[in-house]
Symmetry: C2
Subunit: 556 residues, 2 copies
C-alpha cells in the first residue's frame, strides 16, 4: 500500500526547468515511487489523479499554487522526500550560474549594447510587460511565452510596427535570424530561402526539409499562432514579408500558417503578389485555387512547400514585381457553369474584396439577392432560381445578354467576365449572340473590359477557333483556363499591398540577444556562438498577486 | 410610351425549348420591343420587372403558371402579338417532328431494345416518376432534371444500386459513355482516363483539358451535385469508382466534386485507395493533405487534375491494389508539435473514422477532454492546457511517457504515433528516454505498434542518425515526413472499401438511348451517331395538379 504526501507553495515562482528537475530528483530518491511538481491547474490536477498522485490537500490548491506531491512505499520515505525540497532547489545549479547574469533588462542592454533581440519565456501573465519593456529599449522581440491576451498582443504589435521592430509571438516557438536559432530551431545551412511562419513546428519541419534537400535558409521569422486572426490582422507576417522583399539574401519566400482569417489572407496574398519574388504559400488546411497564380506557388503540405522552395531557388532570380493595372472598377462574373463559377471564386477570393456570390464558399460572400450584383460579384446563372421553366444559360443566351446590359449600366463596374462552354447540347454559336453585345457595350463605355473563358475542344461542334476569334474581335480578352482567369483578373483589379506600411529595421550580424526566462534558450544561443546575456528575472513582488496589484496601482 | 400586355396560361406545360422559341418569335414581330415567356416564379417576375415586362396581371400569376408578356410601341401591336401565340406554338416544328416519336417509355424500349440508357430532362416535379419507370425497365438513368427532392434521389439511387444500374443525377449536366456525350458534353478523343464527377462543368472542363493536352477519356460518369452530401452518401460516385476499377479501358481515374461531406469523403477516399489504379482527386475547395498519398494524387484545380491524369496515363499501368494490413486497433497520436499534429490530422481524417483531436479541423472531431483519448485520436501535447507551469514536451518527455503508458493499457489501441522534433532548444537525447518505454510496452503487448516521426537535420545537436537508430532498435517504425506518416498509418488502419458493394452492369457498345424531355439532347445523340428514340412526353393529366392528385389516389 503506497502513501501519497503533498505540499502547497502558494504563489511561488520557479522556472519550469527548475520544476522539472525537482520532480526528477524527488522521484529518484530512495523509496519514492513517483513524484509530481506542477502548477495546480485543473488539467494538471487531473493528470496527477491519473497517476495516483492527487491528495485531498492537492484538490484544494489553486491554479497559481505550486503543488509538490510524492508517492512512496512508506509514509516516512514520502515525508523525507518532501523535507528535501528546499535543499534540492538550492542545490540546483545551472551551467550559467557562475557567469554574469543581469539583474534587469536595462542592465543586460548596457552590458551587451549590440543585442538587438530580446527572447522572452517568462510565464504568460508577466510576458506582455517584459515585451513592452524590450520595445521601449528599441529591441526586436522573440516572445516564446503563451497565455498572453490577444489585447496585449495587438498593443505590442502596434508598438512594434510604429518602432520598426518585430514582435514575434506570443507563443512563438521558433525563428532563425542571421543563421542563429531562437527558441526551438533546427540547424540548417544558410541560403536564399526566407520564411515567415505562424506555425512553430511548421517552420521547423520546412526549414529541416529545405536543408535535407540541399537548400538553405536566409531568415525564418516566426509570428505566433494568432497573428493571422482577424483581430491581429497579420501584422507580423506583413512585417516579415516586407523584410524579406527588401532582403538581398532572399530570392524565394515561404509563408506557412494555418489558414488565416479571410480578410487577412486576402491582404497577405495581395502583398505577396507584389514582392517580385516567388512566394510559396503553405496555409495548412487551405484549399489552393491552382498550383500557381502569378508569382504565388501553392503547396500541399510542408514537405511540398520545402520541395517547391528548393526548386524555385535553383532557378533564375525573380522577375520584376507585378504592377497592377490601374483599374478601379468592380468585377461582375456571369457564369453558365456552376463549377467554373465556384472555382473562379475560390481563386479570386484571395485577391478581391469584398466579393459576393450565389455559390459562396464563405458566409460573408453570400449575396442578398442573386438578381442584384454587389461590389465584386461571381454569379452562377445556371442555379435553380434562374432555370425554372427556362433553358440553361449554356443553351439560351437571353438571360446573360440582359444581365450584361444591366451590369454595364453600373458605372462602378470595370470588368465583365463570362464563361462560354462549348460542346454537345450547348448553343450552336454563342459568340454570334454574345460578341455583338460586348462590342456595343464597349463602344458606349471604353473603360469597360470583357473577359471570356472558353471551355471546349477543337472537335466540338461549334468550332472553338472561330468562337475565340469572334470574342477577340469584339475586344474581349479570351482565356482557356480558370487559373489564367484568376491570375489575369486579380492582377488587373487587385488592390494595393499594405506590406510596404510595415518596414522593419534591418537585422545586424552577428546576432546578439538578451534572454529573459527559460535558461536553456540562453544556453542554446551560446552553443550556436551567439553573444547573449541572461537576465536573472523574478516575477514582480515575488509573484505575490496582492502585492503586485498594489505596485501596479502605485505605478499608474 | 410603350404598352405592355400579358397573358397567363395556368398549369400549362411546354418544353423549355418551345418557350425560348416562342419568346424569340414574339420579340421579332413587327412593332414589338421586347417579350418574355416564363414560368411565373418570384425570380422570373423580378427579372421581368427589370426589363419593364411585368404587368399588374403578371404580378398575380403563380409559380406554376406560364406567363407571356409583350411590350410594344402601340397597344394594337402588343395585342396582335399575343393573338399569335397559339399559331406560333403550332408552327413550331422541330427537326424530329417527322421522325418516329414514342408515345411512352415502354413503347420506346420496345422500338429500341438495345437502348440501355434513359435521358430525362422533364420538369423536376415529374422527373422522379419518370426515372423510377426507367429503372423498372432495367435502364441506366441520366437524370438532367433539377428541382427533384433529396428523398426521391435517395430512393432512386437505392433502387439503382439494388438493380446494378446507374442513376446519374438529378441535376446531372454531363456524361460521356462509350464515347457518346449525354446532356452537355465536349467531344474528346477516347483514351484511358475514366472520370466520375459530381460537378457538371467540372467534368466538362477536365475532359476538354485532357483532350487539349493530348489525352483521352474512357468514361465520364456524372453523379449530380448532391450525391456526396451525407444524406445521399456518394452512392453514384461509389458505383462509378467500382465501374472504373473493373474497366479494362481505364488506367487512371479522376474524381471531381465540390468537397464531399466528411463521412462521405472518408468512404470515397478509402475506396479510391483500394482501386489499384492511380486516382486523381479534385475536390474543389478541399485542402489536400499532400500532393500524393499512396495511389491518390491531389489536384489543385481542374487544369491541374487534367495535367496530372494525362501524365499518369503515360506511365506504366497501375500497381496491384493496396492491401490493408489486418490491424484493427485505434491510433493514438501524441504530438509535441502543434502543426505536425494538425497536418497529420488533415491527412488521416480522409481515411480514419471516427477521429478526434484537440486541434480539430471539424466540429465533430473535437475531443470532450484532451486528457482522455477516444477512438482514433491525434493530440497536441504542446497546447496551453498541458504547458501551464510545465516545460514544453519538446524539452520534457515526462508527460508523453506517462501518456504512452496510459494508451498502451487500452486494449483497443493498436498503434501509438509520436513526433520527435530535434534541434536547438529541444531535449538533448529524446530517444534515450522514449525508446526504452516503447520497448517495454511492446514486450507486454506484441500487437502494439509504434510509429515515430523524426523532424530534424544531420547538423542538429542531437545526432539525428543515432536517434533514428535507437527508435528502430526499440521496434518502432521511423518516418521523416508527415505525408509518409499519413500514407503508412492510413494503409495499416484504414477500414475496408465499400465500393465493391456497388457493382454496376457493364455498359454495352454502341450506346443507344431513350430521351424523355428536351429535344436538343435527342438531336445531339443522333448527331454523334448514337441510336436514340424520343418519347413524346406530356405531363400526367396535362400538368393539371388537381387531376394529377386524383390519378395518384386512383393508382395507390
Amino acid at each position: 500500500m503506497s502513501i501519497t504526501k503533498s505540499e502547497i507553495r502558494a504563489g511561488a515562482y520557479y522556472d519550469s526547468v527548475v520544476l522539472m528537475q525537482l520532480q526528477r530528483s524527488l522521484a529518484a530518491l530512495d523509496g519514492v515511487e513517483d513524484a509530481g511538481v506542477v502548477m495546480a491547474t485543473p488539467a494538471n490536477l487531473e493528470l496527477l489523479a491519473d497517476f495516483e498522485l492527487l491528495t485531498q490537500e492537492g484538490k484544494t490548491a489553486n491554479p497559481d499554487d505550486l503543488l509538490i506531491v510524492v508517492r512512496a512505499g512508506k509514509a516516512e520515505a514520502a515525508e523525507a522526500a518532501l523535507g528535501q525540497v528546499d535543499a534540492l532547489l538550492t542545490a540546483r545549479r545551472s551551467s550559467i550560474s557562475s557567469e554574469f547574469r543581469a539583474r534587469s533588462m536595462a542592465g543586460a542592454a548596457k552590458n551587451l549594447p549590440d543585442a538587438e533581440w530580446v527572447l522572452i519565456s517568462v510565464p504568460g501573465r508577466y510576458a506582455a510587460d517584459v515585451a513592452d519593456e524590450a520595445l521601449d529599449l528599441d529591441k526586436h522581440v522573440f516572445l516564446y511565452s503563451d497565455n498572453v491576451s490577444v489585447e496585449d498582443e495587438i498593443k505590442l504589435k502596434a508598438k512594434g510596427v510604429e518602432k520598426g521592430r518585430m514582435v514575434m509571438g506570443p507563443d512563438c516557438g521558433t525563428a532563425i535570424i542571421n543563421g542563429v536559432g531562437l527558441g526551438f530551431a533546427n540547424r540548417v545551412r544558410r541560403g536564399p530561402i526566407g520564411l515567415v511562419g505562424a506555425s512553430g513546428t511548421g517552420l521547423q519541419a520546412i526549414t529541416s526539409q529545405i536543408h535535407n534537400l540541399g537548400g538553405g535558409v536566409s531568415q525564418a521569422i516566426g509570428t505566433g499562432g494568432r497573428d493571422l486572426k482577424e483581430a491581429v490582422g497579420g501584422q507580423t507576417m506583413l512585417q516579415g514579408l516586407d523584410y524579406l522583399t527588401g532582403d538581398e539574401g532572399t530570392s524565394v519566400i515561404v509563408l506557412v500558417s494555418k489558414p488565416p482569417a479571410a480578410q487577412v489572407s486576402t491582404r497577405l496574398l495581395q502583398a505577396a503578389r507584389k514582392t517580385g519574388k516567388p512566394v510559396v504559400v503553405d496555409f495548412i488546411g487551405f484549399a489552393p485555387p491552382a498550383p500557381q497564380i502569378g508569382n504565388l506557388y501553392f503547396a500541399a503540405g510542408m514537405e511540398d512547400a520545402a520541395r517547391l522552395a528548393v526548386e524555385l531557388a535553383k532557378k533564375a532570380p525573380g522577375s520584376a514585381p507585378e504592377v497592377a493595372k490601374a483599374h478601379d472598377g468592380y468585377l461582375r462574373g456571369l457564369f453558365s457553369g456552376g463549377t467554373l463559377a465556384s472555382e473562379t471564386l475560390l481563386g479570386l477570393q484571395n485577391f478581391l474584396s469584398p466579393l459576393f456570390s450565389n455559390v459562396a464558399h464563405r458566409d460573408e460572400q453570400k449575396m442578398a439577392d442573386p438578381l442584384r450584383s454587389q461590389a465584386h460579384s461571381i454569379l452562377d446563372l445556371g442555379e435553380d432560381v434562374f432555370t425554372v421553366g427556362r433553358l440553361h444559360p449554356m443553351m439560351d443566351n437571353d438571360l446573360r445578354i440582359r444581365r450584361m446590359k444591366e451590369e454595364a449600366e453600373d458605372p462602378e463596374v470595370g470588368m465583365i467576365l463570362l464563361d462560354v462552354v462549348l460542346g454537345e447540347g450547348a448553343h450552336a454559336d454563342p459568340a454570334s449572340e454574345l460578341a455583338p453585345v460586348m462590342q456595343t457595350l464597349k463602344k458606349a463605355r471604353k473603360d469597360l473590359d470583357f473577359v471570356v473563358l472558353v471551355v471546349g475542344t477543337d472537335e466540338d461542334p461549334q468550332d472553338s477557333g472561330a468562337q475565340v476569334e469572334a470574342f477577340e474581335k469584339a475586344g474581349a480578352k479570351v482565356l482557356r483556363e480558370v487559373n489564367q482567369v484568376v491570375a489575369y483578373v486579380s492582377a488587373a483589379l487587385g488592390s494595393e499591398s499594405d506590406a510596404a506600411a510595415h518596414p522593419v529595421k534591418r537585422f545586424v550580424e552577428p546576432l546578439a540577444a538578451i534572454n529573459v526566462g527559460v535558461e536553456t534558450f540562453y544556453e542554446s544561443l551560446k552553443a550556436q556562438g551567439a553573444e547573449a546575456v541572461q537576465v536573472d528575472w523574478r516575477p514582480p513582488a515575488g509573484g505575490n498577486e496582492d502585492l503586485m496589484s498594489i505596485l501596479e496601482k502605485m505605478r499608474s
